[in-house]
Amino acid sequence: MQELDTAGLGSVRVTRKNDNVVVIEKDLATEQMVLAMGPQHPSTHGVLKLECLTDGEVITEAVPYLGYLHRCFEKCCENVDYPAIVPYTDRLDYLSGMNSEFSYALAVEKLLDIEIPRRVEFIRVIVAELNRIASHLVAIGTYGIDLGAFTPFLFCFRDREIILGLLEWASGARMLYNYIWIGGLAYDVPSDFLKRVREFVTYFRPKAVELCNLLTENEIFVKRTRGIGLMPAGVAINYGWSGPMLRGSGVKWDLRRNDPYSVYPELDFNVPVPDGKLSDVGDCLSRHLVRAWEMDESLKIIEQCIDKMPSAEGFNPRSAIPKRIRPKAGEVYARAENPRGELGFYIQSDGKSTKPLRCKARSSCFVNLSAMKDLSKGQLIPDLVAIIGSIDIVLGEVDR
């Protein structure tokens, strides 16, 4: 673990467990320097600013500064009708728009208490899981770039491109879909869509193995990530972590299992957590591995959905969509498992308006990022980059 003593400003000592490298700077009077990392820094994944207090290359404190991408999401929501919020949710986590829409639709449907056609549920799960794979591909690829491996990034984007093509075919857009509507879908999927998705699943399985060989099993990659940014399970829960971050710390918590929604209870899939063999539980490598394993589980889910899906005969994706959405007075909180963790929407309705009185998004990235101060203490600057990459933030969701 890290042991940090900056009281005398002169004595900084960093030792690492499970790592053959020990950095010790003892009784070496050095000046502390404020280093502003971002918002234009290439590896802060957007417009995050970290103000680091550094002693040599050792970070004594890193404070994240947010708000460069703030777009008043919650205030906007109070001024538009319920269906008009769907496109806004796309722009929260722009790498997994389908999942955000899904989460929002769940919340409003819970508020309205309406029944959704079964085929709609399956299509939603398929597009959401496709989007989850696409999102994890970006996370893994950019993580490679953070650590200096450029090629896996392009391999990831090559495969993500196919998913984006599929989703574009279904919804007409590549990233900001506006596809999952309250009570239904914008359109049914195209006639050959499921066949193509199945083709993608068979295509992608070996590619995922190739990606593993290139990155996850790479000696240097493991050296850079194993034992770095350790987060014990208890602290992770206290911080409110969710998604791959929490599972990386060894907590088997997946909303698709623990608070099931849609058709997930009918589907058979695992919730992968690190077992401490390939990585130290709770380190950057664990979080990376969880994402890599989850892609495989998503493929399983997609295959099952295609098999179980009811036929398209007499199917109208908009049949359950209410003509006018004016929920009864009340409040609701619905959450769903996003690629980055729990995305929840808290919606309050006054019973009179077609606009929500309050719409709050509980963003997983924001909560995960809040642990930055703990994670970065006593790390080196290159490790800070590895830690930020492993958190896999999307600033669109952090700032909203």
Binding site: N20, V21, V23, M33, L35, H41, P42, S43, E57, G144, I145, D146, L147, G148, A149, F150, T151, L154, F155, R158, L214, L215, N218, I220, F221, K223, R224, L380, I381, P382, D383, V385
Partner: protein
């Protein structure tokens, strides 16, 4: 006067198998008392660096990386994007030459210059062919190892002069890295020098020629030569800041390291220096371990492949091919491997490469003394 000079210069082309014939002819080539030959002698490596950086260094690397990454690479400018580098150069020429207001102007301007000079000076002792070497020094290898250290001054000047925290980090890391890695690199090269018994690059090459081609190369002469060869290759990657040791310019950590603040032609000069160093270390490893300008093909009875493919012009072909091969390996590694952390890099140097370099040094010495 000029006619005699011309005859002097055309002679070796016609006859020329004697060592350093071309370069000696050039040294004697004066017009009106001006040592024009010396200028040409110096200009040849310069032109070579520029040409190779433009073609193989920039365009080749982009195409090779594209091939490795399932992309096409540059395709728009000219057929297959061949003219892309020219377009880039034109762009760089038009760029505003910015000196940050808070920078130390003198150091900022002189930094890339020193960097390039350090890289370029080493070409003086590089035998481009059996008939051509800039300066046939009897301490050539030592000079080549030593002069590269000049780059450190340039990097430090650039990083400090930029007055940017990231640049300073990059510069300090780079200096620590280059100075450290010179030790295993130098010891590994000493093994080669021990096998040759000389530091003269031209003589080292001569000692590796023979009718069996590659079998005479130092790499295959002793059963331990692969160790210093490998150590030097790894250390040379670190010396020229290539992946997985590109820590000084780690774009994801330090933005661009010591050249973060550079624009336009200064930026281009830094890159030219980097490409120059890349070829230089590749050529040194070729000379010391892989026979330099000697043909690797063996004579097979009547099919005298070695005899047919040796000679001054063939020599230039071989050493450049060998150098390009190692540059290709450098690129290959760059587009495959992640980057080491700075302390892991130092660990690798001091606790792995240096002890093994000493081991190989002792083993080579024993081999040279006791094995006939």
């Amino acid at each position: 006067m000029s006619s005699t000079a011309l005859s002097q210069i055309s002679m070796p082309f016609l006859m020329g198998n004697s060592l350093n014939a071309w370069s000696e002819a050039l040294v004697g080539f004066n017009i009106l008392g001006l040592p024009l030959g010396l200028v040409i002698l110096a200009a040849i490596p310069l032109v070579f660096i520029a040409l190779y950086s433009l073609t193989y260094g920039v365009y080749g690397e982009r195409k090779i990386s594209a091939f490795m990454q399932d992309r096409l690479g540059p395709m728009e400018v000219g057929k297959w994007g061949i003219l892309q580098t020219i377009a880039d150069i034109l762009k760089l020429l038009q760029k505003e030459d910015i000196v940050p207001s808070s920078a130390d102007k003198f150091l900022f301007v002189i930094g890339p210059g020193i960097l390039f000079v350090g890289s370029f000076l080493a070409y003086a002792v590089l035998p481009f062919s059996s008939a051509f070497i800039g300066a046939s020094l009897n301490v050539g290898l030592f000079y080549a190892i030593g002069i590269v250290a000049l780059e450190v001054v340039g990097i430090l000047a650039a990083g400090w002069g930029s007055n940017n925290k990231w640049s300073l980090y990059g510069a300090v890391r780079s200096v620590a890295q280059i100075v450290s890695y010179e030790i295993p690199a130098a010891i590994a090269l000493l093994c080669g020098a021990m096998m040759a018994g000389t530091l003269d690059m031209q003589q080292i090459s001569v000692l590796q020629s023979g009718s069996w081609g590659f079998a005479h190369f130092f790499l295959f002469k002793t059963p331990i030569a692969w160790l210093p060869f490998l150590i030097y290759f790894i250390a040379s990657l670190a010396e020229v800041n290539r992946a997985p040791f590109d820590i000084p310019e780690a774009e994801s950590e330090l933005v661009a390291g010591y050249f973060t603040e550079y624009t336009g032609m200064k930026f281009a000069v830094i890159f030219l220096a980097e490409y120059g160093s890349m070829f230089m270390v590749s050529a040194i490893i070729s000379v010391v371990f892989l026979g330099g300008w000697n043909s690797p093909l063996p004579n097979l009875g009547a099919i005298a492949l070695n005899d047919w493919t040796n000679g001054p012009v063939w020599g230039a072909f071989w050493i450049i091919s060998k150098g390009f091969f190692f540059i290709f390996v450098q690129m290959w590694l760059r587009w495959t491997l992640p980057r080491l952390r700075v302390d892991q890099l130092m660990y690798l140097c001091w606790k792995v490469l240096t002890p093994f370099a000493f081991v190989s040094f002792v083993l080579t010495a024993i081999w040279e003394v006791y094995v006939p």
